[in-house]
Symmetry: C2
Subunit: 204 residues, 2 copies
Amino acid sequence: MPPDSRTTSPTRPMRADARRNYDRILAVAAEAIAEHGAEASLEEIARRADVGSATLHRHFPSRQRLLEAVFRDKVEALCATAADLAADPDPGQALATWLGAVARHAVSNRGLAASLMRGAHDGDPTLGATCHTMITNAGADLLARACRANAARPDVSIADLLKLVNAICLAVEREPDGAAQADRLLTLALTGVHPAGGTAGRKM
Amino acid sequence: MPPDSRTTSPTRPMRADARRNYDRILAVAAEAIAEHGAEASLEEIARRADVGSATLHRHFPSRQRLLEAVFRDKVEALCATAADLAADPDPGQALATWLGAVARHAVSNRGLAASLMRGAHDGDPTLGATCHTMITNAGADLLARACRANAARPDVSIADLLKLVNAICLAVEREPDGAAQADRLLTLALTGVHPAGGTAGRKM
DNA sequence: CCAGAACCGGAGTGCCACCCCAGTTAGGTG
DNA sequence: CACCTAACTGGGGTGGCACTCCGGTTCTGG
């Protein structure tokens, strides 16, 4: 979605210079976030993009907006992956594979997990389709299929599953071997701690 | 452990006024952290404790030190719980129960999860027994027992397990129904997504 | 009671997010 | 082409933060 359209469409296209600045900020922001994570300094992004800080704040009124813009294409890629996997003959593995892909994206793109997490319910109704809802919708389908194939418990929600994945990624994001750890923890979470499919409950 | 002793003990006890300030800062910090989480403003804590910011920084050279001091007794309680549970006839459930207790503490004491997480490897060798290592040691025993009883996979480490719990708590900490969510996610992670203990692997 | 060590806190530094407003520029119109 | 206006810009201001320096104050042992 180009940045010049609002949810109510009849808006004039951006002026050429404005769009130039917008694009430059976005490119620089991607670098900075990859380097310093979701808490990268906005001031420095503006500086590196040769732009006043006011300009950055005008184009992206909140940090969350900037993150969403930076990660939009990654999120779209994940949604596309989900669509592909919807045709997989093994719905259970398709779901697991997709969650693994989400995790891999999240650890290799610092800040993505934080962005998806924060976007959950930050109450910005002006933003129609946030990355968070896009991902949720994409995953809901895979989970439903896995459920029907009896490969997932019916009482688990896609929101919970994604929260789990994002939590893991957020936690290991700053560690050197983050990818390996994320993979290990995700596998653990999906298969449980019991050795060979025991079904012991938990008492509190 | 009283704050006037270092790992090498021959240190004079704190002066009375210094200890007074130390205690007041700690009390105020506990409130502030409960209210605003681990990122509470140190400046405001100093202000509320009627103390110059320099005094706060002298007593607690880093945010992590302050967090550790605030949560020390909670962590000791968890370690005691672990010791009790070591006698439980069902090692698998004992482990699960303890992890649940850790989670409950972490969601009801904002900042605890962050503190335990950050303490993992922040390279502060001057601090002998951090909360992180205390918890890890306490849990290692429970996990070893569960392992011996074939109630936990042998390839799972206590570090991973705690990382998982803390990640979950960190993620749901700011949500209104955090406790319920944490419990649900923890159960999910411990038992896996498969309906009745299936053992399907994951392909990436 | 008094010397000196321990301790205190205000003022200073440098970073940050975010806002205001006077000046500049793009781009449609005559 | 020149011009006019709305859109856009960015320097500088505000307020908050973590953290440090240093002259002054307060404990405490002898």
